[in-house]
């Protein structure tokens, strides 16, 4: 009896916990980076919906996001008003570089938004379709240059998996890394790489301007407004996305986390959040704590496998 009462009281307190008074969001990246935009999007939604009025975004670039992670872990112990944003890259980076910290050292709280990866070529490329691309790749693997972000990035893993499903060695994928999205688009437009990968938003302006074409999307279903098949339809069973999520410090108890959880639950249901997702072309990728942590574990083990085959794990 006592046990149930306590449980009820506990459930009640967590359910009615008000969002925190103030929030500080640590961004593992510089201003303008993908994670920075996500953090500022969260800030904007929380403020304009009046969920949390005092929101501060702190940029900590460096070390593939690991400088931010390590600062967060050492200086925010027990602080329930501080959150950290993270993305697919934050999972992959510790795999390619033996870093002293990883997402295992924080408490992932919710996955929020994301974008499915797409494969694109310039408008007048000889490559007509994904089938055509894969046929050319199988005939002469080295001749296809696949452009994407940094080594070990989402695109690197995505292309390697695609190559593997096509029955080739992941290492045969001639991946050409780029320091930023702008340069990926440039490499596609001037044709120095055969195909490029990235989020739809990276290429949408060029696609609308008639300068690029989308060959396929790594989404479970076709994306609205984009005339391109899914990889699944074409027989390549890959769903791959670049996602953004939010974490808190590992030292916090369930009770400490309750206000933050309430804040996220209110935000993901708010109008401004959904309005903003639509404006920026992000998809609603909300996953609550337990599912999110499982998702990260799955992402990590899949990435580890492919990165080992690529020979760039440590």
């Amino acid at each position: 009896m006592l046990k149930t009462t306590l449980a009820l009281i506990f459930a009640a307190t967590t359910a009615f916990a008000a969002p925190p008074e103030r929030l500080e969001i640590t961004v593992p990246g510089g201003p303008g980076s993908g994670l920075d935009q996500a953090a500022r999007g969260i800030e904007e939604a929380l403020r304009s919906e009046g969920i949390v009025r005092n929101v501060q975004v702190v940029n900590v670039p460096g070390g593939g996001g690991m400088v931010a992670l390590s600062q967060f872990i050492t200086t925010k112990d027990g602080d329930p008003n501080v959150a950290l944003v993270q993305g697919a890259g934050t999972v992959f980076f510790p795999l390619t570089n033996a870093t002293p910290v990883s997402l295992a050292d924080v408490r992932p709280l919710a996955r929020l938004a994301g974008e499915y990866e797409v494969i694109a070529v310039r408008a007048d490329s000889e490559i007509t379709s994904l089938e055509d691309l894969m046929a050319r790749f199988k005939a002469d693997p080295g001749s296809i240059a696949w452009g994407g972000g940094s080594p070990g990035s989402t695109e690197n893993i995505f292309f390697a998996r695609l190559g593997k499903i096509a029955g080739m060695e992941p290492r045969q994928v001639n991946f050409i890394p780029h320091p930023n999205t702008g340069e990926v688009v440039v490499s596609a437009l001037n044709g120095q790489v055969s195909v490029v990968g990235g989020g739809m938003q990276d290429f949408l302006p060029q696609v609308e301007g008639g300068k690029m074409r989308i060959l396929a999307v790594a989404a479970p279903e076709r994306l609205e407004g984009i005339d391109a098949p899914t990889l699944r339809e074409l027989g390549y069973d890959i769903v791959f996305a670049n996602w953004r999520g939010i974490s808190v410090h590992k030292s916090l108890s369930d009770e400490d986390v309750a206000p933050m959880r309430e804040m996220i639950e209110t935000m993901v249901k708010s109008d401004r959040w959904h309005e903003m997702l639509a404006e920026r072309g992000w998809l609603d990728f909300y996953l609550p704590e337990a599912e999110y942590q499982q998702f990260i574990a799955d992402e990590e083990s899949a990435a580890k496998e492919i990165l080992t085959e690529l020979g760039i794990t440590q």
């Binding site: 510089g30 201003p31 303008g32 980076s33 920075d36 935009q37 500022r40 800030e43 904007e44 403020r47 304009s48 975004v57 702190v58 940029n59 900590v60 670039p61 460096g62 070390g63 593939g64 690991m66 400088v67 390590s70 600062q71 390619t96 570089n97 870093t99 002293p100 910290v101 080295g142 001749s143 240059a145 940094s150 080594p151 070990g152 001639n174 050409i176 890394p177 320091p179 930023n180 999205t181 702008g182 340069e183 688009v185 440039v186 437009l189 001037n190 044709g191 120095q192 790489v193 949408l204 302006p205 060029q206 609308e208 301007g209 008639g210 300068k211 404006e279 920026r280 760039i312 440590q314």
Partner: protein, 500 residues
């Protein structure tokens, strides 16, 4: 052409309201202030201000952002000249001659040629942006990895003159720079190199930390160690603060040449501001009638790089406005700002939102003019800084260097790095090792490596790509000519004199 002109006039109509002029003034003032502090750059400032501008009309917000962007270039040169603390990579070359001029009592002239040169370059480059952005971007897009590689090699060949008097010491300095540049992640495989397990080193060493460490901290330590007893009057202003007739005649050509180098290179996607300022500096040194003055305060060495820096800043906006491509950090932040307003920059932006684009471009002209008006009268005030007693001045410089470095990433590790690099800069001075080659190695090394390895990855290891790409072949031939011609000429002259 005429359409563009009318569109621009429409832009002026938008930007020239009292309200928007106010935002522009606020932007350029803020920009100048953050430019003076090394570290906090225009990108971070715009990112910080973005949430505050939510309720603002997008045109007003972008006019302010443009002011910050241009203002930061002016502020950066002021700090470089007076305090030897280049706040951003593009201001490093300005620091070399600019600070030497300041120490010879010609700080006012250095500031003036920088301000007027920035205005001239900024205006010409903005005109270029207005009328030639789409064309320029189309040309810039054609450059592929082998072309970039050849361009870097050509740059390297042209800057050998900057190695200094002793080739041995110059090369040693260059190799220190190359080593510092190779710290971080291997660009092709993503594996860490020379990071000693320190995660802060994984993204490489920031150019600004190296420049401030070697220039400001190194110089300060050296001065304190070796010239403490000497009563120095060199910081006193000599004569008028205005540019003399000779200063004008030595400045205007470098301004134009700097603009012509800076604008096109700034507009190419991997161009940046470092390459044009280095090229401009070495070109001015070669063309100067008084090359011996370089290193001790040659006005051409301020006028050229400063113009090149501002022109490249305008050029960097071309890919953003014409194609929606963020090719610099500031451009990436501006792109995020566009998105905040639900705008999508790209090939369609000129059609879908002409008032905004042309208002923004018009505000670049206005911001530039405001900056000149703001900065020229301030020259007299700024140079007063130099009459501060030396111990205080150097104390102030060190404080500013540390603060600026910390504000770069908000990380105390960078401050430790700054101290180490300061000691390195001091040691190099003790051994008469020139600093400039080290900076060249640091900047050009990683660029050359990345483009070389990217070329070879795409060509699957075929080295002939550098010769089969016409532009690459041409640039490499030029580079070879620059290195080999003087040697051949010397040999033939010697032979001729032997025969004679």
């Amino acid at each position: 052409m005429l359409d563009t002109f009318f569109a621009l006039m429409g832009g002026f109509a938008v930007a020239l309201t009292i309200q928007n002029l106010g935002w522009s003034l606020l932007g350029v003032t803020l920009g100048t202030m953050i430019g003076v502090l090394p570290g906090l750059g225009p990108a971070a400032t715009v990112a910080l201000l973005m949430p505050l501008t939510v309720g603002l009309d997008p045109i007003s917000a972008f006019i302010m952002f443009a002011g910050i962007y241009y203002g930061a270039q002016y502020g950066g040169s002021t700090a470089s000249i007076l305090l030897n603390t280049p706040g951003e990579a593009g201001a490093m070359m300005t620091a070399i001659e600019g600070n030497a001029m300041a120490r010879r009592g010609r700080g006012a002239q250095a500031l003036a040629t920088a301000a007027i040169g920035s205005f001239v370059a900024g205006t010409i480059a903005t005109i270029g942006l207005t009328f030639a952005a789409p064309l320029l971007v189309e040309l810039a897009l054609k450059l592929t990895a082998p072309d970039y590689f050849a361009l870097m090699i050509l740059s390297l060949a042209t800057v050998t003159a900057l190695l200094g008097n002793s080739v041995g010491l110059g090369l040693a300095s260059l190799f220190i720079g190359l080593f510092l540049g190779s710290v971080g992640l291997d660009p092709q495989t993503g594996q860490s190199r020379f990071t000693f397990g320190i995660i802060e080193l994984m993204d490489g060493i920031d150019t600004v930390v190296v420049a401030v460490g070697l220039f400001a901290v190194g110089e300060t330590l050296y001065t304190v160690a070796y010239q403490n007893g000497v009563v120095e009057k060199i910081h006193q202003i000599k004569g008028s603060v205005r540019l003399s007739r000779e200063d004008w005649s030595r400045s205007w050509k470098p301004w134009i040449r700097g603009t012509l180098i800076g604008f096109p290179i700034g507009s190419i996607p991997a161009g940046g501001s470092e390459l044009p300022t280095i090229l401009s500096y070495s070109l001015e040194k070669k063309l100067s009638r008084k090359p011996e003055e370089f290193g001790t305060g040659a006005i051409e060495g301020v006028a050229g790089p400063e113009a090149a820096n501002n022109a490249s800043a305008a050029g960097a906006l071309a890919p953003l406005l014409a194609l929606g491509l963020p090719t610099s950090t500031t451009a990436a932040v501006l792109l995020a700002a566009f998105q905040q307003y639900g705008l999508r920059p790209g090939p369609m932006l000129f059609d879908s939102n002409p008032a905004l684009v042309w208002g923004l471009i018009a505000s670049l002209y206005i911001g530039n003019a405001l900056l000149l008006v703001l900065n020229l009268p301030l020259v007299g005030v700024w140079v007063k800084l130099l009459s501060i007693p030396k111990p205080w001045l150097y104390g102030g410089i060190l404080t500013l260097a540390v603060l600026g470095t910390y504000s770069l990433n908000g990380n105390s590790f960078d401050v430790v790095l700054l101290c180490i690099l300061g000691i390195l800069g001091f040691t190099m001075r003790v051994f008469f090792m020139p600093i400039v080659p080290c900076i060249l190695g640091l900047i050009l090394g990683p660029m050359i490596e990345q483009q070389l390895r990217r070329s070879l990855a795409i060509s699957q290891g075929d080295w002939t790509v550098f010769l089969t790409h016409p532009l690459s072949a041409l640039l490499l031939a030029l580079a070879a000519a620059i290195v080999l011609l003087p040697i051949i000429l010397q040999l033939t002259r010697r032979r001729a004199s032997q025969h004679g």
